[in-house]
Amino acid sequence: MSEQGLSPRIPSTGRGFGRVLVAIYAIFALAATARSVFQITTKFSEAPLAYLLSALAASIYVVATIALARGDRTSRRVAAGAILIELIGVLTIGTASLVWPGAFGVATVWSGFGSGYWFVPLVLPVVGLWWLRHTRSP
């Protein structure tokens, strides 16, 4: 399993630029999780759908962060899956929030394609998938 991780020649997802990417993912994981816990524990009934979506986004960020940081073969698959769901999520919710404004009650992290977070939620999965491809062993 870890024969790839031990070899310094093969790039790992948690090294080089990946180090920075993991840091950014970690910040989103932390922010989204904390926010989500706060929303669900204090005012869940106000906008259940939006808060559940935020919780889903938070858990995806957590999984992606850990998987990218680990970078072994299984983790790469997990990271690819999580980041793909993240991309689909931000595109779907982003579109839905524009087509049906107010459908979610309150803004989620993916509303308006992440416009509330300088579009980082939109850029992050694209960069993440590119990075997984870039570090793929030959």
Binding site: R19, V20, I27, L30
Partner: protein, 121 residues
């Protein structure tokens, strides 16, 4: 929770973002300016945490207190966490991680101020 103290933290953070970017672009290693700046910033953030809690304790105002303390604690934890994560990769990537941390701090300080002013999550 507003005023010169928070502005100083934001100013130093942005200054260190700029300095990190200069070091990155010119392919230089993290230097004493960055290290000392980071230590000063961390001390200011610890002061911000203590001052914030003291102010909160003496305030009757209605605002999201748990969230407020959460942001203050996160503010003090970010630089040490970034430092530990950056040490794992002593290439330019480590410096990049530190730069991201400096960039996030002003956002956290602004959120602390927003929560204090009463606009919650």
């Amino acid at each position: 929770m507003t005023g010169w103290y928070a502005t100083t933290i934001i100013g130093i953070s942005l200054g260190l973002v700029t300095w990190s970017a200069i070091l990155l672009v010119t392919h230089r290693a993290p230097d004493l300016v960055l290290a000392l700046g980071g230590v000063v910033l961390e001390l200011l953030l610890i002061g911000f945490l203590i001052g914030g809690i003291v102010q909160m304790a003496g305030s009757e105002q209605d605002f999201a207190r748990a969230e407020f303390v959460g942001y203050l604690l996160t503010g003090t934890a970010i630089l040490p966490a970034a430092f530990i994560w950056a040490r794992g990769d002593k290439s330019r990537a480590g410096l990049g991680v530190i730069a991201v941390a400096f960039l996030v701090l002003p956002v956290i300080v602004l959120r602390v101020q927003q929560v204090w002013a009463g606009s919650g999550v």
